[in-house]
Amino acid sequence: MVGARHEAQERRRAREFETFTAGAAGRLLHAATLLTGDPAEGERLLVAALARTYADWFRMRGDDPYAHTRQELAARFAHRAWRYRRPRGGLLDRLPPRERLVLVLRLYEGVPEEQAAAQLGLPPERLRTLCLRAVAAMRSRT
């Protein structure tokens, strides 16, 4: 009885997750690849973040799975930022990891300033400074 209900719930989780990934993976993979610079590394980062979304599927309680995955992605990247210090190619190659993260969250994902600042644990002014610096660096590259 309990086992059957559990089975049904797990099936529902798998089905809903598949639908979500089919729609969101492209955009998230691009964000992850922008962050890491290396497509394979970006893929690894995204798989790890998506796995958490899968495990937390019924815990999110109406929270947007996309936002949940994005947050997990950003947190994982920030946690392992030292790994990505060395340039690995990609569009944001010359930016330090934190500026990459700010740029991707603010300009690619369009996360509001206060929310992005809260996610990264930075004061909003600091985030704005980082964003301006990153934008200037991006425009100066030829």
């Binding site: 993979l29 497509p39 995204l46 495990a55 300009l107 991006m138 425009r139």
Partner: protein, 97 residues
């Protein structure tokens, strides 16, 4: 691009960078969702095991506490000494002091 000190408005600069970021999108590997789901299932499995272990530890602690309390419980006072045939306790004769 203007050479002025202020340059274009920040919004325009941001829009420019936004366009750069949005440019090419890599193809999504077909098995990406499956790999993520498999890993998610492993996370769930680990969480379940952890919960089970925690329950076992709590249960063991509760049992240990019960046993300890039972061992330390004051034993009920032993039955009073039997009364003599007159209904009074027999006089205990003590030896010489």
């Amino acid at each position: 691009m203007s050479g002025a000190v202020s340059g274009p408005l920040p919004d325009r600069k941001e829009a420019e960078v936004r366009r750069m970021l949005a440019a090419p999108r890599p193809p999504v590997p077909a098995d990406l969702a499956d790999r993520a789901a498999a890993r998610g299932r492993r996370v769930l499995h680990r969480r379940r095991l952890l919960r089970l272990a925690l329950c076992a530890v709590l249960l063991a602690a509760a049992v240990a506490l019960g046993v300890w309390v039972a061992a330390r419980w004051p034993t009920p006072p032993s039955a009073p000494p039997p009364l003599g045939s007159w209904g009074i306790a027999p006089v205990v004769t003590r030896g010489p002091r």
